[in-house]
């Protein structure tokens, strides 16, 4: 038996509306989480030209640190301390790792962070084990904020949205209003200029890397309890964050925001509008025989394509617009 297609038959009915509203909400939420990760990655790339492969690993470290810190204190302390600690680890990475291979070029830097993925992921297993840890949503945020169409919207999701937006605002102000921000912005568009202006480039690099990884840590703090804190979380997040950053345009904060939201919405809608092309055709009165090849392809569910869509989008944009949605320059 097929799923009923009443949604399509009575488009505009509350059922359809409900599905859309919740897909938008879920998509926004996922998108903002992606953005929290992508913003740090794109800043680091824009400033240093380093594509930090281990970014999602720092995200995972954020979640685990928050788990440990909150088990001794509480969530709010962890929310402050865990990103700071992750940022500190990032600074160490830059100071004692990346700086040494800088002379060998960007590919060497990329390879170093690639190796770090293995090291960090394994260290997490070493310290916290392979079994998911019980990093829970704080009780003070564990309630239903409002109920819409009979579906409740948990307060913690609203909190994630709030933190993500606050973070975007803070980064934006930092970049536009402060001196450091101006230097970083100058470096984003003309990296060779900053050194010429007499700034201590290595120190700025360390700071930017620490800041970027700290943002990843913050994303980990927020997402670790919303999802599940387990050693596979970096690997499942890593490639998609790259997609976001490349799609939005390497080094572009606005692009990262737009790309995060687009990809968040696209993947969410692909799941919630889970009808195969054949279903759609059937809805308009066209039957397709599943046995032939065209029929076989048409019977692939959207949700299955959904997993592939972000990567397809990334490959297409790299072919047709290599600098991404809003990238300032081609890598």
């Amino acid at each position: 038996m097929r799923p009923t297609l009443s949604h399509f038959a009575v488009a505009g009915s509350p059922v359809m509306l409900e599905s859309i509203v919740f897909s938008v909400l879920n998509g926004l939420l996922y998108g903002m989480l992606l953005f929290m990760l992508a913003s740090g990655l794109t800043l680091i790339f824009g400033m240093m030209g380093v594509l930090n492969f281990a970014h999602a690993s720092f995200y995972m470290l954020g979640a685990y640190c928050a788990y440990t810190i909150s088990s001794y204190t509480n969530f709010w302390v962890a929310l402050i301390l865990a990103p700071l600690f992750v940022g500190f680890l990032g600074a160490l990475t830059e100071r004692f790792g990346l700086r040494n291979v800088h002379k060998h070029g960007h590919v060497a830097e990329l390879l170093l962070t690639f190796g770090l993925v293995y090291v960090i992921d394994e260290l997490v297993v070493l310290i916290w084990g392979q079994i998911p840890v019980n990093y829970a949503i704080p009780p003070s945020l564990d309630f239903t904020l409002f109920t819409l169409f009979g579906t409740s919207f948990p307060a913690y999701r609203a909190f994630i949205l709030f933190v993500a937006i606050a973070m975007f605002g803070a980064i934006y102000l930092l970049l536009v209003r402060t001196r450091v921000g101006m230097i970083i912005r100058a470096a984003l568009s003309h990296p060779e200029m900053v050194g010429a202006l007499g700034h201590d480039v290595p120190r700025i690099f360390t700071l930017v890397f620490a800041f970027g990884t700290g943002l990843a840590g913050l994303a980990g703090v927020m997402a670790g309890n919303y999802y599940i804190t387990e050693p596979g979380m970096a690997f499942s997040m890593g490639p998609i964050v790259f997609v976001v950053v490349v799609f939005g345009g390497l080094g572009s904060l606005g692009g990262a925001l737009a790309a995060s939201l687009i990809i968040g919405l696209v993947t969410t809608f692909a799941v919630s509008l889970n009808y195969s092309i054949a279903d759609l055709l059937a809805a308009v009165g066209l039957g397709l025989d599943g046995a032939n090849i065209a029929g076989g392809l048409a019977h692939i569910d959207l949700s299955r394509i959904g997993q592939m869509l972000p990567y397809l989008m990334m490959v297409l944009i790299l072919i047709f617009r290599p600098r991404g949605l809003m990238g300032a320059r081609e890598s």
Partner: protein, 422 residues
């Protein structure tokens, strides 16, 4: 942990003399133990499930050894991490054969189970002097005892068709079920549930409407809320899911967060973190079909099981005794070896065929036709009002709703077993 020690020694040797192409050999290859290779995920998204299973086996082996072992030999469980990969499992199979392992056991993932049935079959054909027996404690794809059935494979868990038969028998009597939603993992196991559930419901309760049938990627979904809103908007009152591990925890967690008001019929809600994830939100709503839950020792006379469950929980903080079928499997293996008077795989496999055994809940039979164990099954509800044992300290426990006799769970099999002549 002999295996692990050996590993460390090899690790050190390899770090020291990395260039020397030495052959990895295991410290003790002596024949005085019965080695059972446990091939399941010990890393990755399903590591918690694999780890719990391994602990069950080790604990039960320890008990057998304390009673003098089997035929005077100790049972040794060797854990191998297959990373949920069929391919990795086949490589392990080869490794295990070299290490003198003649009995392997696996449960998590019918895709792995299928590859191992095939792999063991090929291995035994090509290496008749070094055969292996595959004892399957949890891979439930009906095909493994159906079209893919093998003489060397024995299944100790009810297969998916049997479980659905039991669930739909029960559902057929619940008049308030009107709309059913199916959500399952996208591989042979989930696909089988989706297919069979629709067939059986249509036959037993043609008035029930299937309002959704979703397959999601295995171990990759982090946020189930899109699926939950799909269930919500379908108007379902009942959900059937064969999900396990994180895929089940995250699913019910997302459902609970969204305030989804449905009854869940599950295979695996009983342990390994799922009760914790369910919490109060699952009370009175989540049902499961299993061969065992702790409170059954209140309903039946089972002192040994009571001792085991209490000792196990004490020993492993946070893990409860969840797999009765692992005990059944070990007991039947012991019985078969004693009957055959040997640990030689062919003789033991022959002894296992058609074997019956008494358990506190009734007689279990290893069906000769397809090597599928028939055992009594229970439907239970997650409830605040439980007899004695709560689940994972949640303050909620499982209450038996119905018992299904071993005979009533039987589903016909298409298996045409090819038996080796020698």
């Amino acid at each position: 942990m002999k295996h692990y020690k050996g590993l460390v020694r090899r690790a050190v040797a390899a770090v020291g003399v990395a260039a020397a192409l030495a052959v990895p050999t295991l410290g003790s290859a002596a024949d005085d133990t019965i080695k059972i290779g446990y091939i399941d995920p010990l890393s990755g998204p399903f590591a918690n499930v694999g780890d719990a299973g391994l602990k069950h086996f080790k604990y039960l082996a320890e008990r057998i050894n304390a009673d003098g072992g089997i035929l005077g030999k100790d049972v040794e469980i060797i854990g191998y991490d297959n990373k949920s990969s069929a391919q990795e499992s086949l490589q392990i199979l080869r490794e295990a054969a070299d290490e003198g392992v003649h009995y392997i056991t696996q449960g998590n993932g019918s895709h792995v189970g299928g590859a191992l049935v095939d792999g063991v079959e090929k291995h035994n054909r090509r290496n008749p002097d070094n055969r292996m027996v595959f004892l399957n404690y949890a891979a439930v794809d009906p095909a493994l005892t159906g079209e893919k059935c093998s003489f060397w494979h024995f299944r100790f868990d009810a297969n998916s068709a049997m479980k659905l038969q039991a669930i739909t028998d029960y559902m057929a009597e619940q008049d308030d079920i009107k709309k059913v939603f199916l959500i399952n993992m996208d591989y042979s196991h989930g696909q089988a549930i989706s297919r069979i559930a629709k067939e059986m419901l249509k036959e037993k309760r043609p008035d029930i409407e299937i309002v959704g049938d979703v397959l999601h990627p295995v171990g990759k979904v982090k946020d189930f809320s899109p699926y939950i809103s799909q269930i919500q908007s379908s108007g379902a009152d009942t959900v059937i899911s064969g999900n396990w591990g994180n895929d089940l925890s995250l699913l019910v967690k997302a459902g609970a967060q969204a305030g989804l008001d449905v009854d869940w019929f599950t295979y695996y809600a009983g342990g390994l973190g799922t009760p914790t994830a369910l919490g109060k939100a699952g009370a009175e709503h989540v049902k499961m079909l299993t061969e065992w839950q702790e409170n059954l020792v209140e309903d039946y006379e089972a002192p040994e099981l009571r001792e085991i469950l209490e000792e196990f929980e004490q020993r492993y903080d946070g893990i409860e005794f969840y797999y009765l079928r692992i005990k059944t499997q070990m007991d039947m293996l012991q019985k078969a070896m004693e009957k055959a008077g040997s640990t030689e795989p062919l003789a033991v496999a022959r002894a296992l065929e058609g074997m019956t055994m008494e358990t506190p809940f009734g007689t279990v039979t290893m069906r000769e036709q397809d090597h599928q164990l028939l055992q009594p099954l229970f439907i239970s509800t997650f409830s605040e009002d439980y007899p004695k044992y709560d689940s994972e300290g949640t303050g909620l426990g499982w209450v038996m709703d119905a018992k299904l006799d071993a005979a009533s769970t039987a589903v016909d099999s298409v298996c045409e077993m090819k038996r080796p002549s020698s």
